[in-house]
Symmetry: C2
Subunit: 333 residues, 2 copies
């Protein structure tokens, strides 16, 4: 076997992927190997499509980011977007831009991570392409799912008085990134944070259950942090929001990490990106159904604040002071 992808042909690499893909589902009329994939549709369902990319040196650093985690995360960030729409994932295309020096073992590892998550959510790889990169490793996934029209969750329908509910915890991925960057990827007490950063679990079942039970008015996934997500939802819904510091679910390791860096754990957790949790706006009358749906999903949720009139998005600290919601000002540079 060649040691690197540069020692192989594109056809060899494609065959290496094809040989590991499970038997095609009945709805896949033409799969990998032709000019394009051909699929049957599901009746009475809408199509949901999203695309997201992970780029070496921007979203991951290969010094601490295992190849398996790169593949896992490239799909996870897309499934998280589908989850935020209440959709059931179905298919994906995979676009790989590979530096020739990438080891074949890393290529295989990347596939391992991606295929394990795809199998867990029954996502079929229906197509893709492989190109050479003169620079970073780039993994671009476009994922599709289906949803009934009345089960679609959007971000723009929150109303003043709705409660804001968050799945999981806030800021763990940002703490995990910090621990990885500092060379503390394992065994230093931050393993859960590192795991949330490397292998975020997309909340697919939670999003589907809440969508199906119509038990939230709005939903968004947190790719760029809780503060950014709240502002995006509030802006799209023409509302404001108040978050209560005392209600924020921060893991102990997350708080410890930020405090140890001399940072305000609450501010850092709200500003920190890549949690890939779901944020919901829930009307008071939906609350019972919402809690039943979340219980069924097995994912813990916490009420963190309320949707307000106006456009201000603030966090109310434990001492009663309100301050602007941190985060979400990321610059392209």
């Amino acid at each position: 076997l060649p040691a690197t992808v540069g020692g192989s042909s594109e056809a060899f690499l494609i065959d290496r992927i094809r040989s590991r893909i499970p038997p095609p589902p009945p709805w896949l009329v033409v799969g990998i190997g032709d000019d394009a994939a051909v699929m049957e549709r599901e009746r009475n369902r809408l199509d949901v499509v999203t695309t997201d990319v992970v780029v070496e040196g921007v979203h991951f650093d290969r010094r601490y980011f295992p190849a398996r985690a790169i593949g896992f995360k490239a799909l996870a960030v897309n499934l998280s977007d589908l989850a935020a729409m209440g959709a059931t994932p179905r298919s994906m295309t995979l676009s790989l831009v590979l530096p020739p020096a990438l080891g074949l073992a890393d290529f295989d590892g990347l596939l391992d991570g991606l295929l394990s998550l795809a199998a867990a959510h029954r996502v079929s790889i229906v197509g893709g392409n492989i190109a050479r990169s003169p620079g970073p490793l780039v993994v671009d996934v476009t994922a599709s799912g289906t949803v009934r029209r009345r089960h679609v969750l959007t971000r723009n329908a929150a109303r003043p008085g709705d409660e804001l509910w968050l799945s999981g915890t806030a800021g763990a991925a940002a703490a995990g990134l910090g621990a990885c960057s500092a060379g503390l990827a394992s065994g230093a007490g931050f393993d859960d944070c590192v795991e949330r950063f490397l292998r975020p679990e997309p909340r697919v079942r939670l999003g589907m259950l809440v969508g199906r039970t119509r038990s939230a008015r709005a939903c968004i996934d947190l790719s760029d942090g809780l503060g950014d997500g709240i502002r995006q939802m509030a802006s799209a819904s023409s509302t404001g929001a108040v978050i209560e510091e005392s209600d924020l679910p921060l893991s102990e390791a997350t708080s410890t990490w930020f405090a140890r860096q001399g940072l305000d754990p609450v501010v850092s957790a709200i500003a920190g990106g890549e949690d890939y949790e779901l944020l919901f706006a829930v009307a008071p009358r939906q609350l019972r159904a919402f809690l039943a749906a979340t219980r069924q999903s097995g994912v813990p949720v916490a009420r963190i604040g309320v949707v307000t009139k106006g456009s201000a998005c603030v966090v109310r600290r434990a001492d009663g002071r309100e301050q602007p919601l941190p985060g979400g000002f990321a610059h392209f540079r």
Copy 2:
């Protein structure tokens, strides 16, 4: 306005795209701006999906590749794949990985080229994402279309005795690449070749018409050259092929370019990639319908050879000698 994309925020760049996108079609339930796009399906149609990427330093060199052409080509190569399936294009997602130093004028130019081709084929941009690149500019498009089940064109159904027909000419894009690399991008007699290289016209209408009239047995688009395309079709169909040198449509400029480089024009034209023409296998009894469909498309076609038994793919030179079909051995490195 900022001079470069690095001087802007991601939100600014996304707004800059959104502001230029035509009003959403009625089937787009949720467009750009939420976690994912939501679309209605067309009745009695299959979905056709393809993804292809263009990478700076691999597929284009910004010294001679105008930004408009980058955007145009990023979509064109995908529409060519849809055309080869007989599909009608419908939607696309756009994934941009941008070096911060990219000028905002080039960002706009890239959009100009992409949007002009999208408008010409009524392709709606339903989603996408923008990420920073620490290296090359990468434009990744995933395009979707629709087709009736009985109108699908695949590459694997050619049979011995079928005629091989090619749209347009062979090798022009490779000659154009050569002219561009040599600094002869315009006015040196190779403008048509350069145009085919920079702005390949995807044969969308031709593919649709041939699919609808069921007037070809197999079809493939030529991304990696005529030789590669013939071998791919023959291999998928478990056949061989014989191409006649004397029937190959080479433009005079293409022949002149390769001869001037001391290369065999026929070998170079067959091996040269990026023509994005369509290659069809046509059964003798389909020929009348095929020619009627191609006439309706307005795209010239030429009979270049036949599908044979066995697995050999050869070109018969003007002097009667047969030689293995050149090209298609591209290494990943």
